[in-house]
């Protein structure tokens, strides 16, 4: 009887050891695509190479400087 009770307790506790189902474990399963992978459309500007992080970063820096009119007017 005692061993049966112990077995029941063990089984009950084993149920607590399963996946918690906590919401913070629900994560996006999709892998994010890096921005330096060029878009699959005809609007990609020239001057950088798809898949090349360094060239994309250079393009972003160059493009950001277009917002600096101290460079454009002075």
């Amino acid at each position: 009887m005692k061993s049966l009770l112990l077995l029941a307790c063990a089984l009950s506790l084993a149920a607590c050891g399963g996946p918690s189902g906590k919401a913070d474990q629900i994560v996006s399963k999709k892998a994010t695509r890096p921005s330096w992978d060029a878009a699959a459309n005809p609007f990609v500007v020239s001057g950088w190479t798809s898949g090349d992080k360094a060239s994309w970063q250079e393009q972003m820096t160059k493009r950001a400087q277009n917002q600096n009119e101290y460079l454009r007017t002075n």
């Binding site: 913070d24 921005s35 699959a40 609007f43 990609v44 500007v45 972003m60 820096t61 493009r63 917002q67």
Partner: protein
Amino acid sequence: MARMKFICDAERCIECNGCVTACKAEHDVPWGVNRRRVVTLNDGVPGEKSISVACMHCSDAPCMAVCPVNCFYRTDEGLVLHDKDVCIGCGYCSYACPFGAPQFPTNGTFGLRGKMDKCTFCAGGPEVNGSEAEFEKYGRNRLSEGKLPICAEMCSTKALLGGDGDVVADILRNRVLVRGKGSEVWGWGTAYGKPAAGGGAPVKEGTKS
């Protein structure tokens, strides 16, 4: 490369709402949702100041912290994006965000709240870059087209700056130094807090105008 950041120069913003319109047009944003908007302080009073506000892609984003389904993720460029396939539209993020960035489309007879929509820094979502599926959910992915966000690129007075945080901070700092003022209302420190060691370059607070 530093994190991608927006900063708005309150001395230059003329409240034209061009950034708001450009964003809506570029991403085909649904009626009732504004990923970006212009906020005016002391409206109608001489000396009023306006700033353009959207998701600031916080380094320690409160929306990410409160999301019960973990739909947010951070990209290598420091952008806070979200997966609409995971979002349940609970609205916790909208209560947590100090900038009011998360938006919810209402649809259906009873104004059912849809999945959250917010500024993506024109970086789309988890779908294939530039794909139709990505456009339908998140709008254009301009970063993967080698461009910067449309709101910043088309700003007529170049008040709204967007891009690599170091570059953008340098541009703003130069302006503030040249004109001798202009970071009191909405400077880098106001937007992103005081810089940590090795963080984005701070803008020195100028004298009061």
